[in-house]
């Protein structure tokens, strides 16, 4: 459901949105489609959000891809872990899709896309 909410919000903002059902598919799409930005859930089937970020950062083709991470947990350890891996924005759930949209805009403006 979260994926649908995020996708609908971003699509209504005018972005072209690609959806992945799990971490493995997200990794594959990131490598083949080279999106301008990734919105990842921390909790996903197959690979979790951190594993996907780690894999992307280790690959030179995707190392600089901006990432916004949604998570149900807001522990300091999780946030710091994500930021240390190079997650641009961290968004705790429950979330506001409008706020997510603003953060996506901000990240894209920062990276100049």
């Amino acid at each position: 459901m979260v994926r649908r909410l995020v996708a609908a919000r971003l699509a209504s903002d005018g972005y072209e949105v690609l959806e992945a059902a799990d971490g493995e598919q997200a990794l594959m799409l990131a490598r083949t489609e080279h999106p301008d930005l990734l919105v990842l859930d921390k909790v996903m089937p197959k690979f979790d959000g951190f594993e996907v970020v780690r894999a992307l950062r280790e690959d030179p083709r995707t190392a600089g891809m901006p990432i916004v991470m949604l998570t149900e947990r807001t522990s300091e350890e999780d946030v710091l872990g994500g930021l240390n891996l190079g997650v641009e924005e961290y968004m705790p759930k429950p979330f506001s899709p409008l706020e997510l949209s603003a953060r996506v805009r901000r990240v894209l403006a920062r990276v100049g896309t």
Binding site: L5, A8, R9, S12, P94, F95, S96, P97, L98, E99
Partner: protein, 340 residues
């Protein structure tokens, strides 16, 4: 005799056949419902996603099946949403009559149905639902009572405080998880009412939860009640000390100092008191904390070293002196605290 046995056998066979038929029919109906549900669900998810993105409307469901799918998907989405989009979805559910349906569900004979109704109200309730929720406090199921109490703590006013507090006390023994959620809701939405759960006449399990909530939420208004708890049972005093450290109220320093020095008290309570003195950061505590540095119990000594590092220049001076003293075990603790 043989004919009688044959008659019994025939009746038994008939009963088995009828039973199998009933099972098949019931199972087939359940499978049909499931197929219909799974077919409707993606469409409903997409409609809700479009609605909260400002791109559409959801007409009133026509069948019970459609209502059930919209209910489940919307409740799931509400758990992940906040802000105006959440409000929009709640408005839609209210517009389509789900509060009235939940109110009827709360009067159902089946416990599962009443629990589901209470959870629905928990997701979409407004002050308009206070009478229904108040009725739910009298349910014979404690989970329904606690759920209604949690929602009342969130949307109710002072007029329901006594009933909510009484529900916590009533449900804590058999439904501790649900009761803790009510106490947390009281702390977050009606914090003055938490005072009713902090008094010495309140059952210890309820009081322990209220102390923890007051500390975790840093409810400064309850600092005097937490200070009073420092003289109580060791487990309550420990929790109160940690809470006072989080709140940072300097009025707690004398009582925390007394607890830190009380060698007859449990070790966790003394450690918590020393840590709280450090967290509050009042230099008036330096002398007491310094006295704990050579404590025989290592956790107290380690907590004292860490606390001194947070007590300003006077605390740091104590640590520097200790770091160069002739007692290696204390010098090591002080050195580690200075390096933090």
């Amino acid at each position: 005799m043989t004919a009688a046995v044959a008659g019994v056998d025939a009746a038994l066979c008939l009963m088995i056949v009828v039973l199998i038929q009933v099972i098949v029919v019931v199972r087939a109906a359940a499978i049909r419902r499931k197929v219909r549900y799974n077919r409707l669900r993606p469409r409903t998810e997409a409609a809700i996603a479009d609605l909260v993105s400002g791109g559409g409307d959801i007409p009133e469901p026509r069948s019970r099946g459609e209502r059930a799918v919209l209910h489940d998907v919307a409740i799931e989405a509400l758990a992940d949403l906040q802000g105006s989009e959440r409000d929009q979805l709640v408005s839609l559910l209210r517009h389509h009559g789900y509060p009235a349906e939940a109110a009827a569900g709360l009067r159902a004979a089946r416990r599962a149905k009443r629990r589901r109704a209470a959870e629905t109200l928990a997701a979409i309730a407004t002050p308009d639902d206070i009478p229904i929720l108040t009725g739910g406090l009298g349910d014979r199921d404690e989970l329904v009572q606690a759920t209604c109490a949690r929602v009342l703590a969130e949307v109710g006013g002072p007029e329901v405080t006594d009933a909510v507090v009484a529900t916590v006390t009533r449900t804590m023994t058999r439904r501790p998880g649900a009761a803790v959620a009510v106490v947390l809701a009281i702390g977050m939405h009606n914090s003055p009412a938490l005072g009713d759960l902090l008094g010495p006449d309140v059952p210890a399990s309820v009081r322990a939860t209220a102390i923890a909530v007051a500390g975790q939420l840093r409810l400064a208004e309850h600092a005097p009640a937490l200070i009073a708890c420092l003289g109580d049972r060791d487990d309550l005093a420990t929790s109160a000390a940690y809470g006072l450290g989080r709140i940072g109220d300097a009025r707690a320093v004398p009582e925390l100092a007394r607890l830190a020095m009380a060698t007859e008290r449990a070790l966790p309570a003394r450690v918590a008191a020393v840590k709280a003195l450090g967290a509050i950061g009042d230099p008036a505590a330096v002398d007491v904390v310094r006295q704990q540095l050579p404590a025989a119990e290592w956790p107290v000594a380690a907590a004292a070293a860490a606390a001194l590092a947070r007590l300003g220049e006077a605390g740091l001076a104590v640590l520097r002196n200790t770091a160069t003293s002739g007692r290696p075990e204390l010098a090591e603790l002080a050195g580690a605290a200075l390096g933090q």
